[in-house]
Symmetry: C2
Subunit: 161 residues, 2 copies
DNA sequence: TTTTTAGTTCTGTTTTAACAGAACTAAAAA
DNA sequence: TTTTTAGTTCTGTTAAAACAGAACTAAAAA
C-alpha cells in the first residue's frame, strides 16, 4: 500500500467564499452554468491551487455528476488542466492560468466573428435604404479595424514580455 | 379619421430568413433569449427598417407578450429605438445602428470589468503560491494594458471618421 | 483473483427560462 | 361619451437546463 496523505478538509474563509460567489455570478452572466462557474472560481481563490475531484466536491457541496461534467467541460474549453503525482491515483485539477491570454484572444475572436454575418446581411440588403446600409457598413468597417488593431496590441504585449 | 395606410404583410425571402436564424443563434450564444435575438436580427435584415409591433409579431409568429418583453429589454439595452409618425398611434421600431459602436464599447468594458475581481483575488491570496500569484498578476496586467490600448484604438477610429 | 478507488454515465427530479393567451390599461379616435 | 387601438401585465403551460443519486466502469492495489 502506498502512503497517500489524505489532506485535511479544505477550509475557506468568508472572504474567499464571497469572492467565489462574486466571480461565479460574473461567469454565469457570460453564459457559464453555475457549478462550472463555482469550480473555476474555487481554483482561482483556494490557497491550495491543486485540488482533487473529491476536495472540490466536498468544498462546493455538489454531486459527483455535476462536478464530473463541470470539470470535463472546463478542460475541453482549456480553462483548467490536471496533473498527476506518481503513485497517486487521483488527478489534481488546477486553473490553467498560463493559457488565459490565449483564452482571452479566443474570446475576443469569437466576439468579432459576428462580422462575417454582418457582411452577409449587407450583401443582401435592399438598395432602397442607403443611409441604413451606410451605417451598417460603418459598423462592419469598425469591427474589421478593431480586429487588426487587436492583433497589433497582442503582438505589442508579447514583445513587452 | 386619419388615413393610415395599412402596409402589406411583410415578406421575407428564404435568404433573409436564414440570416435571421443564423444571427439569432449567434446572439443566443451570448446569452440573449430567443425571441429577443430574432427581433433584433429581423430589424437588421428586413427591407423595411422601421417595423410596428404587429408587423414584427406577425412576421416572427410569436405572442404579443413575448414581443412586448423583447422590445422593451432591447430598448433598455439601447439596441433598438422607436420613432412615431404624426397622426399615427403606432410606434415604429428600428435598429439603433448608430449606437452600436457605443454598445460595443460598453460590451468590451463589462468584459474587462472582471479585472476588479481578479485584483480582489490577488489581494487575498496566500503568499505560499508565488508562481501562481505571479501568473495571476500577469493576467491582471494584461487586461489593464488591454483596457488602455482599447481606449487608444477607439480614439484613433473616431479621428479617422 | 478480489477489492478498492476515482471518476463516469444514466435516470429521474427540481428549477428556471421562455412563451402563449387572455385580461387589462391608457390614450386617441369616433 | 363609447369605442377602438396599441401595447402591457398577469397567470398558467411548456420546454430546457442543471442537478442529485445511484449504478456502473476501468484501472490499480491488495
Amino acid at each position: 500500500m502506498r502512503s497517500i496523505k489524505t489532506r485535511q478538509i479544505m477550509e475557506l474563509n468568508q472572504t474567499q467564499r464571497n469572492l467565489i460567489e462574486k466571480l461565479g455570478v460574473f461567469h454565469e452572466k457570460t453564459g457559464m452554468p453555475p457549478t462550472e462557474s463555482r469550480v473555476l472560481s474555487l481554483l482561482l481563490v483556494s490557497d491550495e491551487i491543486e485540488l482533487t475531484f473529491d476536495e472540490i466536491r466536498e468544498t462546493l457541496q455538489v454531486s459527483k455528476s455535476a462536478i464530473s461534467n463541470a470539470l470535463n467541460t472546463l478542460m475541453l474549453t482549456n480553462k483548467i488542466e490536471y496533473i498527476t503525482k506518481s503513485g497517486d491515483r487521483k488527478r489534481y485539477f488546477r486553473s490553467n492560468l498560463s493559457n488565459w491570454k490565449k483564452n482571452a484572444a479566443d474570446g475576443l475572436h469569437s466576439l468579432l466573428s459576428i462580422n462575417a454575418l454582418m457582411k452577409e446581411v449587407l450583401a443582401i440588403r435592399t438598395d432602397k435604404t442607403p443611409e441604413f446600409n451606410k451605417d451598417l457598413g460603418d459598423v462592419i468597417a469598425f469591427i474589421d479595424f478593431l480586429q487588426v488593431e487587436l492583433l497589433v496590441i497582442f503582438n505589442k504585449w508579447n514583445q513587452l514580455k
